[in-house]
């Protein structure tokens, strides 16, 4: 008689491949478990990637999900994170073809999934800057909301995502070209919004803990434009901490 481990291995093999035998009765009913596993995985992806599904249609999305599951089967009893590698899979699966932009669209939706369950830290207002001397501003390190996700794409995927919040939206002209955007948690939803390239570079620099002066340099942000950028990040609640970067110790 097979051990429990051997039995579960053969049951699992029969779930993957209908041609594999397993000592159960009636064997045909294994299809119910096979379908349950497939449906649960598909449902998790549909929940996470609704706009990808809308753009490709139900049938093709099911095909994508099946191929993705073959390559990246569930590794957890919690399906919430089953789509973690879906965008990378689409990169590989779709290559440089006409639908290559779907991978970046999936990245937006994965960011939404992460944002929707992230903790939002209390946001600072711009008055917090008053705690620091003006000459120290260039050394300030901005702690941004940990849930904030920044995106850049060669394709207009922010526009695609925003245009496809209902079924049957018309296709977006891919010649619109590259776009930048951010995904951030709000009180009762997750917001996706476009930003310009300079703001993207500025936020990316702040997110990597560069002090303000270096972030301005990285984003080629002139002093005249700084006020507007700071107003934006404070008014959107993106700043959760401000600290002065310590000067490296001097040696004599």
């Amino acid at each position: 008689m097979a051990s429990l481990r051997e039995l579960q291995r053969s049951f699992a093999a029969a779930l993957r491949d209908p041609a594999v035998a397993c000592a159960v009765l009636p064997p045909a009913n294994l299809a119910i478990y096979r379908n349950n596993a497939r449906a649960a995985f598909l449902a998790a992806l549909e929940l996470t990637f609704p706009v990808v599904r809308r753009r490709v249609g139900d049938d093709y999305f099911r095909q994508l999900a099946a191929h993705f599951r073959e390559r990246a089967p569930s590794r957890s009893g919690d399906l919430h994170w089953a789509g973690r590698d879906f965008a990378a899979f689409l990169d590989d699966y779709l290559g440089d073809g006409d639908y290559a932009w779907l991978a970046d669209l999936a990245r937006i939706e994965w960011s939404r999934a992460e944002c929707s369950v992230a903790v939002a830290l209390p946001a600072l207002s711009a008055t917090a800057l008053a705690r620091f001397a003006a000459q120290d501003f260039e050394h300030l390190v901005f702690g941004l909301q940990p849930a904030l996700k920044l995106h850049s794409s060669s394709y207009p995927v922010i526009t695609v995502w925003l245009a496809n919040q209902t079924e049957n939206a018309p296709p977006v002209d891919q010649s619109l070209g590259c776009e930048f955007g951010m995904v951030l948690p709000r009180a009762d939803h997750t917001e996706v919004r476009p930003i310009n390239e300079r703001l993207f570079l500025f936020l990316s620099a702040l997110q990597s803990a560069l002090p303000l002066g270096d972030a301005m340099t990285r984003a080629a942000l002139e002093v005249e434009a700084l006020t507007g950028a700071l107003e934006f990040i404070f008014s959107e609640g993106l700043v959760s901490s401000l600290t002065l970067k310590e000067s490296p110790p001097t040696t004599s």
């Binding site: 579960q8 159960v24 369950v117």
Partner: protein, 286 residues
């Protein structure tokens, strides 16, 4: 992470009343309407996160109702062992939400590193009972709570089973010190699919082992009953439920409805059907 007790909300026992499952489509309605139900039950895995709307909704609902946390992902009968990280997240949820009851299933869910995210049936053998009991016992020690283990519905039987389903569950209870969450619909579905005697199933379980009961709807597909949780509870399952509360006494009872989820009022009305039977049983006991 905020612990509820620090906000003055006691964990509170779950009364022997009818409750409803907390589903995201009902979050707002439940908080606004506050229907008179005995408790709420939430799927543990839906509340593993540190933040987000679902966690906030459960924290608010938990302030109004006793809570039962019902896990679906541990696969405690998996011969490859139990995922420690998953168990740690269950423990974090218990510490955060302070449920009065914590339950899981008598099933397995993964093999060879692949998870099937379903409640897969165990063969009713002494080997499987020993393994399940050992892993339930270890989980109870880690979580610091007694687990309620639910019988699952089955669509296949194992050729080499040596025990009845009820002997198997009784053995697990005796070995591990867990209690049972008795799913009456699952008994009905398994009995119909595998030719078991549902009455013998209920009368064969130890009388003091059941701490919660589930009822649910099922569907028939090509001659097989599917535990779909997407319809009203049928008369035959309500009749089995009467038998169950006659044997095990009035217990917290949940009407499960996870697919084709109706309006909150419909769900509450269905739970009232269980409440009427509980009240009749309470009356008999008084």
């Amino acid at each position: 992470m905020t612990r509820l007790a620090t906000r003055g909300v006691p964990p509170g026992p779950i009364p022997a009343r009818a409750g409803i499952g907390l589903r995201s489509v009902h979050h707002d309605a439940l908080l606004e309407e506050r229907p008179d139900v005995g408790f709420i039950e939430a799927h543990t895995e839906n509340y593993f996160h540190d933040g987000g709307a679902a966690v906030r909704a459960l924290e608010r609902a938990r302030s109004n109702y006793p809570l039962s946390l019902h896990g679906v992902g541990l696969g405690l009968g998996s011969a490859d062992g139990v995922d420690r990280a998953h168990l740690e997240r269950v423990r974090a949820a218990i510490r955060r939400f302070e449920p009065a009851l914590v339950s899981e299933h008598a099933c397995w869910g993964h093999a060879g590193g692949e998870y099937f995210n379903d409640l897969l049936p165990l063969p009713a053998t002494e080997e499987a009972a020993r393994l399940l009991a050992q892993q339930v016992s270890e989980a109870q020690d880690f979580l610091g709570v007694q687990l309620l283990i639910e019988n699952v519905s089955a669509y296949v039987a194992f050729e080499h089973a040596t025990l009845s389903e009820w002997e198997f569950l009784g053995d697990v209870v005796a070995r591990s010190g867990c209690a049972l969450l008795l799913d009456v619909n699952n008994i009905f579905v398994s009995a119909q699919n595998l030719g078991l005697d549902a009455h013998a199933y209920i009368s064969g379980l130890p009388p003091a082992c059941v701490r919660e009961i589930h009822v649910a709807g099922h569907e028939r597909n090509a001659g097989v009953l599917i535990d779909s949780h997407g319809t009203q509870v049928c008369d035959e399952v309500w009749e089995l439920y009467r038998l169950a509360i006659a044997r095990f006494g009035p217990q917290p009872t949940l009407v499960e409805w996870d697919n084709n989820i109706p309006a909150l009022a419909t769900l509450v009305a269905e739970s009232r059907r269980a409440q009427i039977l509980l009240d009749q049983r309470h009356g008999l006991a008084a």
